[in-house]
């Protein structure tokens, strides 16, 4: 019984299905709405997509480890808030600001990693907590007078605005950054020990352990990277909207999950990659933007998205994990940190 072979076929199909779907969706919307394919809208689509994509790159690695990070939205929002505050209230030099924010994101991610790997809190819950606390902080911050004035001022700093709204050779800067990040991640996954370690850890924990990989450090690192990506996206968002609210980035985590899982990365870990994620992002981006263009009622948009989430989950269940024993999902798979059997 050649399950692995079958699985390859399935995953191949799944990924190409997605590409086909994306193209079909694009064509469909282009036909239905004369303005969908307009340069203006495409740039929009690209910008929104790029920000989602940047977050998803990090989230993909977390899922490859068999973990979940639902704090991405909050981290993105908080980073955006820091950028606005630093840039418009304290007029900090941009480079410094960027560094600080990226460090902040990575820091929060690292904390998530520690909570998940060292303390042993289920990653979903650990990140849920960070989410709740971060939102609390954002509410407090945006209620302060200084934040309000900074926020409501219309920025004139062209460099700052250029980050999120600028175009380079007709391509939005955020897209270029996404491309770089994406390429870098692929290279790391393919050509460095880190990449192999991530797949090893997600794919066969025992083997990873016996090969002497530093599992804890790796997990913390990956979560930190996810935080870093969210912060990066946050910078672009802040500059693009030139403002932030305590709700910025709300529910982003759902879209991220959907895009990544649609992209063929298994929640069980060890299976998938960034390439699929990129397709997933493209598809979700097109779908979302297209439905908005057609002024589809937001509740119906939710229905569509939810339907695709279910589709993605079932796909993950029966395609990616086929061939393993017909064991059903136990919550433990998602929650219990797989501890080493050391005696």
């Amino acid at each position: 019984m050649n399950w692995p072979g079958l699985r390859r076929v399935d995953k191949f199909l799944l990924k190409n299905q997605l590409a086909v779907l994306a193209v079909l969706a694009f064509v469909f919307f282009a036909l239905v709405s004369p303005f969908f394919a307009s340069a203006f809208n495409l740039q929009n689509l690209a910008r929104e997509g790029a920000e989602l994509g940047i977050v998803c790159v990090g989230a993909t690695l977390v899922l490859l480890l068999g973990r979940l990070d639902i704090s991405v939205g909050a981290v993105l929002g908080m980073s955006a808030l820091i950028v606005i505050l630093g840039c418009k209230a304290f007029a900090l030099p941009l480079p410094l600001l960027v560094v600080v924010v990226l460090l902040f994101g990575a820091g929060i991610g690292a904390i998530n990693g520690v909570l998940s790997s060292v303390v042993g809190i289920p990653s979903f819950i650990a990140t849920l907590i960070s989410l709740v606390i971060l939102r609390g902080v954002m509410q407090w911050a945006s209620s302060t007078e200084i934040m309000r004035t900074a926020n409501s001022a219309v920025s004139t700093d062209h460099v700052f605005l250029a980050i999120g709204n600028g175009v380079f050779a007709g391509i939005p800067t955020s897209v270029l950054v996404l491309a770089v990040l994406f390429a870098a991640t692929i290279l790391v996954l393919r050509f460095t020990r880190i990449g192999t370690s991530i797949y090893a850890l997600g794919g066969n924990f025992q083997a990873a352990l016996r090969a002497g990989l530093r599992v804890t450090a790796l997990e913390i690192g990956v979560f930190a990277f996810a935080g870093f990506c969210s912060a990066l996206a946050g910078i672009f968002l802040a500059s693009r909207l030139d403002s932030v609210t305590y709700q910025t980035g709300q529910y982003l985590e759902f879209y991220v999950l959907i895009a990544v899982i649609l992209g063929g990365t298994s929640i069980a870990g060890g299976v998938g990659g960034v390439w699929g994620t990129l397709l997933g992002v493209a598809f979700i981006g097109i779908l979302n933007n297209g439905m908005v263009m057609l002024t589809v009622d937001r509740d119906y948009q939710d229905v569509v998205i939810a339907a695709f989430l279910v589709f993605a989950l079932v796909g993950d269940q029966y395609l990616n994990r086929r061939g393993e024993t017909a064991r059903r999902w136990q919550l433990a798979d998602l929650w219990t940190p797989r501890q080493a059997k050391r005696r």
């Binding site: 409501s152 219309v154 909207l241 403002s243 709300q250 263009m293 009622d297």
Partner: protein, 343 residues
């Protein structure tokens, strides 16, 4: 008197055919279609925060659309369902449509839509904001001046309480700019006029009626001697009213709220509101539509000075509420009207 059977039947029918049922709430005369109008063949875009959740929003929406059709506009509606991100996406999607000549909107957030509006206006098309304003100087704003309203509230409260006493504030979302201006005006007036009123309690209910009810109950428990309660606005104040009723304080404690909405009228009717400060909700949106129309006609372009119309404020009490002129403030004439274009 229906039999239980027919009741069940009816209830399930109404669940099944809810779409129809929703239309059934409404249903009024179509507006006159002009034989000639400069706007014929042109499209006006609406960016509503939510057409459905509160009656006052419905009144805004219905009258706005009615007026637009009256002027011969073709109408495109978008609905953000109170999601900040969605609203700016909606505006950008309208921006992408070259057929849209201008936008009339109620912005969920004071700053979140700045960039979207800016991008739209950059193409030489005006945006008119009604009710709450936004910090970006858009082409026009029609709505109450919340700072002045705050001062008026302070004055009224002081008069009603004979110049002294403890008062409590039940806020909605403390981060919404209207609330901020309200409070600023209120507190400044109290300070300037050495009013004997003392604000002893200030808690948000996040627009949630149940939460407002519990908060008010705690308030009454903690400050039995509280003389007056100011409740920000709309549905959550129903909760406050409930609390007063259950505590048997109706009429004993003076209460004030904002906007001549159906909530205000019910409250006055049932006695749990002393006064509402309202304005002509119908007139407000009609002016907004008119303003956009004029700007379009007069070839508005970005950089022109923004036009502001602060609607006059009226005090509604139990005594004058049945005066048809006052009643009109709340409901206009076309609150039942549902546009054919709406989706």
């Amino acid at each position: 008197m229906m039999t239980i059977k027919t009741k069940i039947l009816a209830s399930f029918l109404c669940l099944a055919t809810a779409g129809v049922a929703r239309a059934a709430i409404a249903g009024e005369a179509e507006p006159l279609t002009p034989a000639y109008s400069d706007f014929q063949g042109k499209t006006i875009g609406f960016a509503f925060p939510d057409r459905q959740s509160m009656n006052i929003q419905k009144v805004f929406r219905d009258n706005a659309v009615y007026r637009a059709r009256e002027l011969g506009w073709k109408v495109i509606e978008t609905d953000a369902k109170w999601d900040v991100g969605t609203q700016s996406k909606n505006i950008l999607s309208l921006a992408a449509r070259s057929d849209v000549a201008g936008i009339v909107m109620l912005s969920i957030d004071y700053v979140a839509n700045n960039n979207a509006v800016k991008q739209f206006e950059a193409t030489g098309r005006p945006v008119v904001v009604y009710h709450m304003g936004i910090s970006y100087p858009s082409a026009g704003h029609v709505g109450p001046n919340f700072y002045q309203m705050g001062r008026l509230f302070a004055k009224t409260m002081t008069e009603d309480l004979g110049g002294k006493g403890k008062i409590a504030l039940i806020l909605g979302d403390p981060n919404s700019q209207s609330a901020v201006d309200d409070l600023r005006g209120m507190k400044e007036w109290l300070k300037e006029n050495k009013s004997g009123l003392e604000i002893v309690f200030e808690q948000p209910a996040n627009w949630d009626a149940e939460k407002a009810k519990q908060v008010t109950k705690t308030l009454l428990q903690q400050h039995p001697d509280v003389a007056g309660i100011w409740c920000n606005w709309d549905v959550q104040c129903v909760g406050m009213g409930q609390a007063l009723k259950e505590a048997g304080q109706v009429g004993k404690i003076k209460t004030w709220t904002e906007a001549a909405s159906d909530v205000c009228f019910t409250g006055l009717q049932e006695g749990y509101f002393t006064k509402c400060i309202g304005w002509d909700t119908r007139d407000q949106v009609r002016r907004a539509v008119d303003l956009v129309s004029m700007l379009v006609e007069s070839g508005w372009k970005q950089g022109d000075k923004g036009i502001v119309w602060n609607v006059p404020l009226y005090i509604v009490t139990k005594d004058n509420m049945n005066d048809p002129r006052v009643h009109r403030l709340a409901f206009g004439e076309h609150s039942g009207y549902v546009s054919g274009e709406s989706n």
